[in-house]
């Protein structure tokens, strides 16, 4: 099932570039993700106990001490690893690697062992601890392209698979293939500073693959050998 990404030169590999030099930590991506993906709201008590459901969170790291203190933002979402630690441990294939380099999560196959959550070094997976509650008429907002997960299901960033699929189907209907930059996950679409860029890493002409070769690029926890599909660009430097 899981195909080695290093071999698939011809296929698509979706990737997200996060330019840390542009990120202002404004949280627009967080709310866009909530709106797009029908994430549940857990309330203060549960959020305080680490049971929030954000698929993307912005880590804020302090550097130095007052007065020479700096804070850096780092948006972290599912890294869509090619060598994902979460994939082999799922007993029912609810999570697996698909042909387009996505670390897929099939909600209605999930039985809720939370093994993937334990195995994920980025802790990018979130769990539905309770039934989601959407007081009427907040249900009207739910995106019909995304299922509403009930209790006991693991979920995580999908790179907005529904938006990828939508563009692909529309492009196919028009008899063409999607252009670079046409597919935008909700976070990418809304990011005010364009700190997030989405595209096909295996297409040498795509914006992301060019940025991936930038001198500024790095991946999160590279020593773990997970080969993430999310590429970070260091902040505070000029990209030439």
């Amino acid at each position: 099932m899981a195909k080695d990404a290093n071999q698939s030169d011809e296929g698509i590999r979706w990737a997200l570039v996060v330019d840390l030099d542009r990120c202002t930590g404004c949280q627009a991506c967080v709310v866009a993700c909530h709106a797009e993906n029908n994430l549940q709201i857990v309330g203060e008590k549960e959020a305080a106990y680490g049971r929030w459901t954000h698929w993307i969170i912005i880590h804020r790291y302090w550097e130095g001490e007052y007065p020479n203190v700096k804070a850096r933002f780092m948006p972290i979402m599912c890294q869509q690893c090619s060598e994902a630690p979460c994939e082999p441990v799922c007993p029912v294939f609810a999570t697996y690697h698909n042909e387009e380099g996505l670390n897929a999560q099939i909600y209605n196959r999930c039985i809720g062992t939370r093994f993937c959550g334990s195995a994920c070094p980025y802790k990018a997976r979130v769990y539905n601890w309770f039934r989601p509650e959407f007081p009427e008429p907040l249900t009207e907002q739910l995106n019909p392209d995304v299922s509403v997960r009930t209790r006991g299901i693991m979920e995580k960033c999908t790179f907005c698979i529904q938006r990828i699929r939508r563009v692909e189907i529309d492009a196919q209907a028009e008899g063409r293939s999607p252009t670079d930059g046409e597919i935008q996950p909700a976070c990418v679409q809304t990011c005010p500073t364009s700190a997030l860029i989405f595209g096909d890493l295996n297409d040498p002409n795509s914006h992301v693959s060019q940025l991936a070769h930038s001198r500024r690029s790095f991946r999160l926890l590279p020593e773990l050998g997970t080969d993430p599909g999310v590429i970070y660009l260091k902040g505070g430097e000029v990209n030439v």
Binding site: V89, C110, K123, I153
Partner: protein
């Protein structure tokens, strides 16, 4: 079988060189029917204390089932787990119970193969412990599922969706291993039970007679039957040992195959196995002491057994310390930042109380068990072995919960607080285990009568000239 007639031992002859044999020969003066009576009588006499105990245990179990229902209805959030501590007390207790289950086969199969004679009276109790502990352990993979009603998706069955379980997942290995072990150990328990069922059948009437008649499978005690039984037990003893080693190795791989800091360790499999043996033997000793007292089996379970058991516990404990240290020192010297952080947390951080409880409760018993007085005094041995299991439970909690609280990105660290649901369910399995054991001890002869009788045939005193010479025969 041996034709030697048991002879009355002479009390005043050779008092200094005889005590060991004296004990072994104690039963030799009993008639067969007396032994049968001694084993069966406590089963039939159920006093008020027994029913009160059963009532209390049942109440705890019922409460636990309510908590489980509550958990299923409202969701996993009613347990204390969170992100990043996705596994908590459930998995800890699961590992603990799997560990407990290891002593049964250890005692029974390994010692049977080694022909260690002192095992005879305690095999049944040990095997029952294996089966019941595994039943309790087997509940946890179900309990901790977020959607337990979909558990059957883990079972490979043909379907039109072309969907199979993922055999790469350690959870699948777990399921296979635990099922195999449960089936194997239950059969093993049952096989050794058949002659005693026949014995009990012949001594009872009413519902017990009907029950024993079915369970005895028409055992008559012919030479051929004995021969087959011995062969079957021999095969099982050999076959169950790899299973027994694999089960806890696989449980350890649940953790070790991930890249979670501190879980990702090569020594985990043997470390878990030896830890399981250590805690299992200790639990066995504790249980035997309690059962011996409550069922008045002092005659069968004698201090010589506890002495040997205590020695085994001590050896297992030393091995555990060795493996623990082998793992610890590598991590310590490896000095990976996150592992260093975890070690720091254990040694001098918020986890320190648990760490020192673990170390203390696992090492002090080893020292105590050096003393024969501790090994042979039931109360002292009970305290010591219970302490071991407190230590082992803490160790599992430290591994499962302590490690999950920390990970590679400090932003994502977390803390865990067990909820009433988790505690109730954990209490349910402890009570459930005790309840099964209690009921079992009233229905099934707790001491394997046929093994005792068989052993009794081995040791005799022969009069050679003027001397009384203790002899042991090869009978198996």
């Amino acid at each position: 079988m041996s034709e030697v007639q048991p002879t009355q031992p002479e009390q005043d002859n050779h008092p200094d060189q005889m005590p060991e044999f004296e004990e072994r020969l104690l039963l030799a003066e009993r008639k067969d029917w007396e032994i049968n009576e001694a084993v069966l009588q406590p089963m039939f006499k159920t006093g008020r204390g027994f029913w009160i105990l059963v009532a209390i245990l049942s109440a705890i179990v019922l409460w636990g089932f309510y908590a489980w229902g509550y958990l299923i209805y409202w969701g996993m959030g009613t347990a204390g787990i969170n992100r990043p501590v996705y596994w908590g007390l459930f998995i800890t207790t699961f590992v603990f119970w799997v560990g407990i289950s290891h002593a049964g086969t250890m005692i029974s199969a390994v010692l049977r193969l080694l022909k260690a004679d002192w095992r005879r009276p305690i095999t049944r109790g040990a095997e029952a412990m294996t089966a019941f502990a595994l039943m309790m352990a087997g509940l946890y993979p179900l309990i901790h599922l977020g959607r337990v009603w979909k558990f059957y998706w883990m079972i490979p069955y043909p379907n039109n969706r072309f969907m199979w379980p993922n055999f790469q997942s350690p959870l699948m290995w777990d399921m296979v291993a635990i099922f195999t072990y449960l089936i194997g150990s239950s059969l093993y328990l049952y096989l050794a039970l058949i002659p005693d069922m026949a014995m009990a059948r012949d001594y009872t009437e009413g519902w017990r007679y009907k029950l024993y008649r079915v369970l005895a499978l028409g055992w008559r005690g012919t030479e051929a039957e004995w021969h087959k039984l011995h062969r079957a037990l021999g095969i099982f003893s050999v076959a169950i040992i790899p299973i027994f080693l694999s089960v806890h190795s696989i449980v350890s791989w649940d953790f070790a195959v991930t890249i979670q800091p501190r879980w990702h360790s090569t020594i985990f499999a043997p470390y878990f196995v030896i830890g399981a043996v250590y805690s299992g033997l200790s639990a066995l000793a504790s249980i035997l002491i309690i059962v011996r007292r409550s069922m008045r089996l002092q005659e069968f379970l004698r201090s010589e057994h506890f002495d040997s058991l205590g020695k085994l516990v001590m050896v297992a404990g030393m091995a555990w310390v060795y493996f623990w240290f082998a793992g610890f020192i590598v991590e310590w010297y490896g000095n990976e930042p996150i592992v260093r952080e975890l070690i720091h947390e254990e040694v001098s951080g918020p986890l320190a109380p648990f760490f020192y409880l673990q170390m203390g409760a696992n090492i002090i018993p080893i020292i105590l068990l050096v003393f024969k007085r501790v090994r042979t005094t039931p109360v002292l041995l009970l305290g010591t072995t219970l302490l071991v299991n407190v230590g082992m439970f803490t160790e599992r909690a430290l591994i499962v919960i302590g490690s999950l609280q920390r990970n590679d990105l400090p932003f994502n660290w977390g803390t865990y607080r067990p909820s009433w649901v988790e505690i109730s369910i954990v209490a349910m399995t402890f009570a459930g285990f005790a309840l099964l054991y209690t009921l079992f001890s009233r229905i099934i002869p707790f001491v394997p009568v046929w093994e005792i009788k068989e052993g009794r045939l081995r040791y005799t005193l022969r009069r050679i000239g003027r001397l009384l010479v203790p002899t042991a025969a090869e009978i198996e």
